[in-house]
């Protein structure tokens, strides 16, 4: 049997966050899930869920592709330092590859740094992006 004051708190949370406990504050979820199995809890959550479903009727379609390319075009340009770093790292790889091929005459030096500044990604595939601060 849930403490009446606790039940009151959970009814209030259902009024605030709706009928899906996964959306409630993390610290409340475990106990709220137990309360949800009581008749009072089930009733309160069902009531809140009615409104949630009504809100869900408003769906929107977004098409990010066009604006995505405009945004990407204005992203910071690679710095001189970055271009030089890629050029050197590319040079190291090219030299290693050249050295691994027995019998070839000399290393196949890469051309100008431009060859290794790949717009679609790095020369070694896409970088993983670890979001800082998240």
């Amino acid at each position: 049997m849930t403490d009446p004051r606790v039940a009151e708190r959970y009814r209030a949370l259902a009024e605030v966050y709706g009928g899906t406990i996964a959306r409630w504050p993390a610290a409340e979820r475990a106990a709220a899930a137990r309360w949800a199995t009581t008749p009072d809890g089930a009733r309160a959550l069902a009531q809140a869920e009615k409104l949630d479903r009504h809100l869900d009727l408003w769906s929107i379609a977004i098409a990010p592709e066009a604006v995505a390319s405009r945004i990407a075009a204005r992203a910071p340009a690679p710095s001189v330092l970055m271009r030089a770093r890629w050029w050197w790292s590319g040079l190291g790889i090219a030299a290693a590859l050249a050295g691994a091929v027995a019998g070839t005459a000399g290393a196949a030096f890469v051309g100008a740094p431009r060859d290794l500044v790949v717009e679609g990604g790095t020369a070694f595939g896409e970088l993983g992006l670890a979001e800082e601060g998240s």
């Binding site: 209030a12 009024e15 605030v16 966050y17 709706g18 959306r23 409630w24 504050p25 993390a26 409104l51 949630d52 009504h54 809100l55 009727l57 408003w58 769906s59 929107i60 379609a61 977004i62 990010p64 066009a66 604006v67 995505a68 405009r70 945004i71 990407a72 204005r74 992203a75 910071p76 340009a77 690679p78 710095s79 330092l81 970055m82 717009e119 679609g120 990604g121 790095t122 896409e126 970088l127 993983g128 992006l129 979001e131 800082e132 601060g133 998240s134």
Partner: protein, 175 residues
């Protein structure tokens, strides 16, 4: 973010892929105008690019920061719109309905959108952030720059108003 600041285009593209849909969705719901929402999205990322090199781990979550920027940009537009036309929200059917919706579903969606648009600004923002953007209470409070208690009060009032409005609409339909 540091890589974006150094001009890593791949990192920038990853960030766009990850965040743009949510930024666009938020702006679209608040402004109900696809063109304006795209402009807000562009401006949001422009600010992200400008600050990328200075971003520090341990500051607010990046997602929360993005939401705050979008909110502020939308508020500015809505304020200007109100000053020009007297109406903060376009007085027309939502221009971005899902293409597969039937007319009836589209009409119901429009009524929900209208009801949310009629809420006081902070309540509207709170509902959009928590219900549609799926932010937690703490994240939404941070984006709105209010306490969690204040956010919960906004949500409670908004939901109460919406429930009453929808009930009245359903009652009117039955008559």
């Amino acid at each position: 973010m540091a890589r974006v600041g150094r001009g890593d285009r791949a990192a920038a593209r990853l960030l766009i892929t990850a965040k743009l849909p949510r930024v666009l969705a938020l702006a679209t719901r608040l402004l109900r105008d696809r063109g304006a929402a795209e402009e807000v999205a562009q401006e949001t990322f422009l600010r992200a690019w400008r600050g990328a090199g200075d971003w520090r781990t341990g500051r607010a979550r990046y997602d929360t920061w993005l939401h705050t920027v979008v909110l502020n940009l939308c508020r500015d537009r809505l304020r200007r719109r109100r000053e020009l036309t007297g109406e903060p929200v376009p007085d027309r059917a939502d221009p971005t309905p899902d293409a597969e919706q039937t007319l009836l579903t589209a009409e119901r969606a429009r009524r929900v959108a209208d009801a949310i648009a009629a809420l006081p600004e902070r309540q509207r923002e709170a509902i959009v952030l928590v219900h549609y953007q799926d932010l937690s209470g703490a994240e939404a409070a941070a984006a709105l720059e209010v306490s969690v208690e204040a956010l919960e009060s906004l949500l409670a009032r908004a939901r109460r108003t919406l429930r009453a409005r929808f009930a009245a609409e359903q009652e009117a339909e039955r008559d």
